[in-house]
């Protein structure tokens, strides 16, 4: 049975018990009121009968006409009282019938008495006879009156008994009702303990177990009531959490395995892929140096091409390793002085080709919270780019600074180099994407992919604005995690 049903049932029983007690109180009240009325009526009857007796005595003593009239008056009042009295029970009704009978007899006797008294008393023997008859009648009348008085007292007693009995019944009903209420209270308390508190304590224990990491804790089947349902729901919730946790763990293991594999791959690339390139370059140079005179110009050109290709391949491998390193690097956020970092990097640019000069304009006190190593890699590539693409610009200027845009600090690296067509901006940050011919501006096409990944790793965004022939500006922000890296940054892509 559900807890709600049990609660409803207990409430219904409680209400019923209270109702029974209330009904008993009301009924007892009615009974007592009725009994009180009967007693009042009985005592009025008794008073009227006493009055009747008094006027009877008065009549006997004085034999006045006035007393006789009074007697009939009192007698009539008594009859009216008897007729008006309401006694519903059989025993009382029987008593009342007796009272009425005796009243009828009494009236007849009194009538006879009156007629006897009216007789002439002058005749001695008749007077004597009358006197004796009168005495006899009086005696009968008094006996009848006495009986009626006794019967009236009996009625009063019966009323008192009824009232007492009603009160006793009320006591019993009240006690039984209270006992029932007490029993229900005890039963409810026991049920609450058994069906609510104990299961809740078990649930609490289970929740604690799960909270402390015991994911395999069994919640059990639970009963048919609401808490049983809750137990099952929590159990299945924990089960699905356990499942997804398992999935996450599996994915994590797979990712860790992939990462290890990637590391091993990078390691192997780093060691093994460069060795053959060294041989190609080294022996080509050896050929040029030792046998150059036998090769002729075309032969030397071929060898130089082999060397150039080997070196390009070497740079490509290095850049790819750099990209993978940026992805794998552990983040260490700290205060970074971008101005100082930019100056440091700019100082490393040699005049290559000789005579190249760039005006560096760095704003002071550009501070940010970032990973110093990733920022160094990003700025190195951005300034490399700026240096490279201003190679054919007179009065080359490269600026580094920051502006507030939408309440956020946006850093920029701007140059007045060749720029690019904004139509290609989507491809700008993809690995191996180049917007210029290699003969004009050499490069592997990985630099900006590395920059983007370094910025994304730090929760930032990067974008560019440019016009062909007028230069390019790269903007970036840091620490906005709400913007997920886009497809181009996908390691699998």
């Amino acid at each position: 049975m559900r807890i709600g049903s049990k609660e409803s049932l207990a409430t219904a029983i409680l209400l019923a018990a209270v109702g029974v007690i209330a009904a008993a109180v009301w009924w007892t009240n009615v009974e007592v009121e009725d009994a009180r009325r009967q007693r009042r009526e009985a005592s009025e009857l008794a008073r009227a009968q006493t009055d009747l007796r008094l006027v009877t005595f008065e009549y006997v003593l004085n034999n006045h006409e006035r007393a006789r009239a009074q007697w009939y008056q009192v007698s009539r009042r008594l009859d009216e009282l008897i007729a008006a009295s309401r006694f519903s029970r059989v025993a009382e009704e029987e008593i009342l019938v007796g009272v009425r009978d005796r009243r009828t007899q009494g009236r007849q006797i009194f009538d006879e008495l009156v007629s006897v008294s009216a007789d002439d008393r002058t005749v001695a023997p008749r007077a004597e006879l009358n006197r004796r008859f009168e005495a006899q009648l009086l005696s009968r009348l008094f006996i009848l009156q006495q009986d009626n008085l006794a019967a009236t007292f009996r009625l009063s007693d019966l009323a008192t008994e009824r009232s007492t009995a009603a009160q006793r019944r009320l006591l019993v009903v009240s006690l039984l009702g209270l006992a029932l209420i007490a029993m229900i209270a005890v039963a409810m308390s026991w049920l609450i303990r058994r069906d609510v508190l104990a299961p809740i304590a078990r649930l609490q224990h289970a929740a604690q177990q799960v909270a402390t990491g015991n994911w395999s804790y069994e919640f059990g089947k639970g009963g048919t009531d609401e808490i049983g349902q809750l137990t099952r729901d929590l159990g299945s919730m924990t089960q699905s959490l356990r499942d997804s946790l398992g999935q996450v763990e599996r994915s994590n293991r797979e990712l860790a395995a992939l990462n290890t594999e990637l590391k091993a791959f990078s390691y192997s690339v780093s060691h093994d892929l460069r060795a053959p390139l060294r041989s190609m370059d080294g022996f080509s140079l050896a050929l040029l140096e030792d046998y150059g005179d036998k090769l002729g110009e075309e032969g030397k050109d071929f060898l130089r091409r082999i060397r150039a290709a080997s070196q390009r391949m070497g740079r490509l491998i290095d850049d790819l390793l750099g990209l993978s390193r940026v992805t794998r690097a552990e983040l260490r956020l700290q205060a970074v002085d971008l101005s100082a970092l930019a100056r440091e990097i700019a100082a490393s640019f040699r005049s290559d080709p000789p005579g190249r000069s760039v005006r560096w304009e760095f704003e002071d006190k550009l501070s940010m919270r970032a990973d110093r190593e990733l920022m160094r890699i990003a700025m190195q590539n951005l300034l490399d780019n700026a240096w490279k693409f201003t190679g054919k610009t007179r009065d080359a200027v490269v600026r580094v600074g920051a502006r507030m845009r939408d309440g956020r600090q946006v850093f920029f690296v701007a140059d007045n180099g060749v720029g690019f067509d904004m139509a290609y901006t989507d491809r700008l940050f993809g690995a191996f994407q180049r917007l210029h011919h290699a003969e004009d501006f050499p490069g592997t096409g990985i630099g900006l992919a590395i920059v983007q990944r370094a910025i994304h790793r730090q929760g930032g965004k990067i974008w560019a604005e440019a016009r062909p022939g007028e230069g390019a500006t790269f903007f970036f922000t840091l620490g906005e995690s709400e913007d997920e890296p886009r497809g181009q940054d996908n390691p699998a892509g």
Binding site: S270, G282, L285, A286, M313, R325
Partner: protein
């Protein structure tokens, strides 16, 4: 630029790299004796005069060991560990000359007591420059320990 009696031990398994390294040293006018071994075990045999190298017992240790990391049988870091663990070879200068500049290699190399870490560039001209600087520094500039201190 040769200095008498100062031997270099080159530990390198790739014959192309051996050839190129020797050429680079020659081009840099380093005329010291360069002994070449081709794996980690052979390197330790050479240093501790064991097996095929037992005849070396009386020969002084090399002044400089140029060590590749990816080696058959026992890799460069294992060789370095063994060199630093033995009191006889503990103080010999070891320069790691290898392809990789992976952090794990550089950090472990220095942690195990390498004196220097040089990456082989693809560009042979750069390689020759590296070999030249290496030779100048470790064979001429660097004040080696007195013989008896190494014992």
């Amino acid at each position: 630029m040769s200095l008498e009696g100062k031997t270099i031990l080159l530990v390198e398994d790739n014959p192309d790299d051996v050839k190129l390294t020797l050429r680079a040293f020659k081009k840099a006018n380093i005329a010291n004796t360069i002994d070449v071994v081709h794996d980690g075990i052979e390197a330790l045999d050479y240093l501790f005069a064991r097996g095929a190298y037992s005849a070396r017992a009386a020969t002084p240790l090399p002044t400089l060991i140029i060590l590749d990391l990816k080696l058959p049988k026992l890799d460069g870091l294992g060789v370095l560990k063994a060199i630093r663990a033995d009191p006889r070879t503990r103080l010999v200068s070891v320069v790691i000359l290898t392809s990789s500049k992976e952090d794990q290699d550089v950090v472990s190399g220095y942690a195990l007591g390498a004196n220097s870490y040089v990456r082989k560039p693809v560009d042979f001209a750069e390689f020759m420059e590296a070999a030249r600087v290496l030779g100048i520094y470790w064979l001429m500039m660097n004040q080696a320990l007195p013989e008896h201190a190494a014992k």
